[in-house]
């Protein structure tokens, strides 16, 4: 319609070569007339780029992910990338793990916590495919950028707060799911705070909360049944804190008068709990933003930080005993 070859149209679309102004005009006019939109798929095939980044999550449902998604979506869409999301946890057990998101339909992959296993990470790394990890370190020897948060320092601070300000002496720590990296780092912070105040480490005070409301609820019930003595609980994450508060309340234990409670994450609901939860703010939206930045750098072949650690912040509310 514009009286030019497809090659010229392509050049016009990509501003590849300077076109004669007159030609450009004719192409533009024809495009308007025909309501022409270039076919992304054909483009992908020809350029071997998809302009899409893939996000792998274990379980997209968690309310924990809202800020993460917000961060990721914001910067990826700003950079002109589409977002392909797949929840690896939802793959029906037994079913052979078919990888829907791979080097073939994305330009790069974002993996949260343990969404991608080490075998796959190694393979992707070997073929030089861009991957950025969030809240998860790569297998040793494999070089993949990582975005994490200051788990240990955050945990240390909040436990120190319980010790110094509220004079708590027997502080329970609730671990997350087995193998969870966040959880182990937080546990190290917990231990560090104990050491710094010359408190002995008592293994009886460490239990499993699994980063899960109900699990934590049951765990606290058990602690009470076994008459484990404690005057504070650092719940590992905020989800667990809900269960902890409930279990304590049902047992007639007052928070924070009898027992201080502290969480980690600063989820949306933390300030809504009763009492409002003292916790560590995890900059999870920022994690998402930073991860996409790094991934895009990787895709473009620019320099990337091997490891970015985002700062956490102590948020004092009432569940520890402050502001009463």
């Amino acid at each position: 319609m514009a009286g030019v070859s497809v090659a010229t149209v392509s050049r016009y679309l990509n501003n590849a070569t300077l076109l004669a102004p007159d030609t450009a005009l004719r192409v533009q006019r024809a495009m308007d007339e025909l309501n022409f939109v270039p076919h992304p798929i054909a483009r992908n095939l020809a350029t071997n780029r998809t302009n899409t980044i893939g996000l792998l999550l274990l379980d997209i449902g968690g309310n924990f992910y809202s800020p993460l998604l917000r961060g990721i979506e914001a910067v990826s869409s700003e950079a002109g990338f589409d977002l392909l999301i797949h929840s690896t946890g939802s793959s029906h057990a037994g079913n052979a793990r078919k990888r829907t998101l791979t080097e073939h339909n994305t330009d790069g992959l974002l993996s949260f916590t343990d969404a991608l296993d080490n075998v796959e990470l190694t393979r992707l790394n070997r073929i030089g495919f861009p991957v950025v990890l969030m809240h998860q370190s790569p297998p040793s020897g494999i070089d993949i950028p990582v975005i994490i948060i200051e788990n240990q320092e955050g945990a240390r601070q909040i436990v120190a707060h319980l010790i110094k300000v509220h004079h708590r002496k027997r502080i329970v720590f609730l671990q997350g799911p087995p193998g969870n990296e966040d959880s182990s780092a937080r546990e190290m912070g917990y231990c560090q705070a104990l050491r710094e105040h010359d408190f002995p480490f008592d293994p009886n005070l460490v239990a499993i909360g699994n980063f899960d409301t109900e699990y934590a609820y049951n765990t606290v019930k058990k602690l009470l049944i076994y008459k484990v003595e404690f005057d504070a609980i650092f719940t590992g994450d905020d989800d667990s804190a809900i269960g902890v508060l409930q279990a304590l309340q049902e047992a007639g234990i007052r928070v924070p008068e009898d027992v201080s409670v502290a969480g980690f994450d600063d989820s949306i609901f933390a300030r809504l709990l009763n009492p409002a939860l003292t916790t560590i703010h995890a900059p999870i939206e920022e994690v998402g933003r930073e991860a996409v930045h790094q991934l895009i750098n990787l895709i473009r072949g620019d320099y990337t930080e091997p490891r970015i650690t985002l700062p956490t912040e102590l948020i004092i509310r009432q569940s520890c005993g402050c502001n009463r």
Copy 2:
């Protein structure tokens, strides 16, 4: 490597024709050896199908979306579709609205609330492209399947509860954002309940909460300043309820003793509020599941329901005055 043509490999991959068992074996062996994975993009181009469904949201960040995403992800991944997500709200104002998700890179589109405007809906409908709407009706005359929830009946029930059980006489209703369909339906339910109990409709008792915590907070503050008298607030949604509770508490008004509060949605935090929020459960995960089902039917050319209304359920907690 298998000594066959690409056509045969393609046939093997798609079980198109019966292959000679011996040939199939050779192809399979070669595929294993070469670690061959068919290139989805090339496939898409050839078949004109993407095996991807697009989800359009105004703002992916809301915690409201977690269950929706869970529902959508679950059934789409089960059906073998990838999920492409785009937040139309994040498009930086002023920037020409470039449609990243279209008929060219998805097989069908899911739109929540007002993510897709009527112009685009009309266009998509004209070219016969599969679209399913959630919490939003299509422009009149346009035939697009819709998934909605029983807003009016839910609202009627909860307002009737406030009237019959708690003998509330002056019940405030907080509207959502202007033009929001959920909000108007809920307002109709509110009015219906008033009528059914021969209560007059008092326009002074209707204010705007904007489905937003802070907005609702300020609105209630204003009601108090203007000394509008009320003994209950139906907050329109749960987010607003947070702000309402806070404003009332700061004014020294006791909930539920002085004023009953009721929400809508049954968000994850509803039971965590103090007092726990009486609300209407909105089956939002189910909305997501159903929407994907309908969309897939549409894509396959099967029959689809023009309009599915999912039931809501009254959830009695403490903020209305029950269970004390």
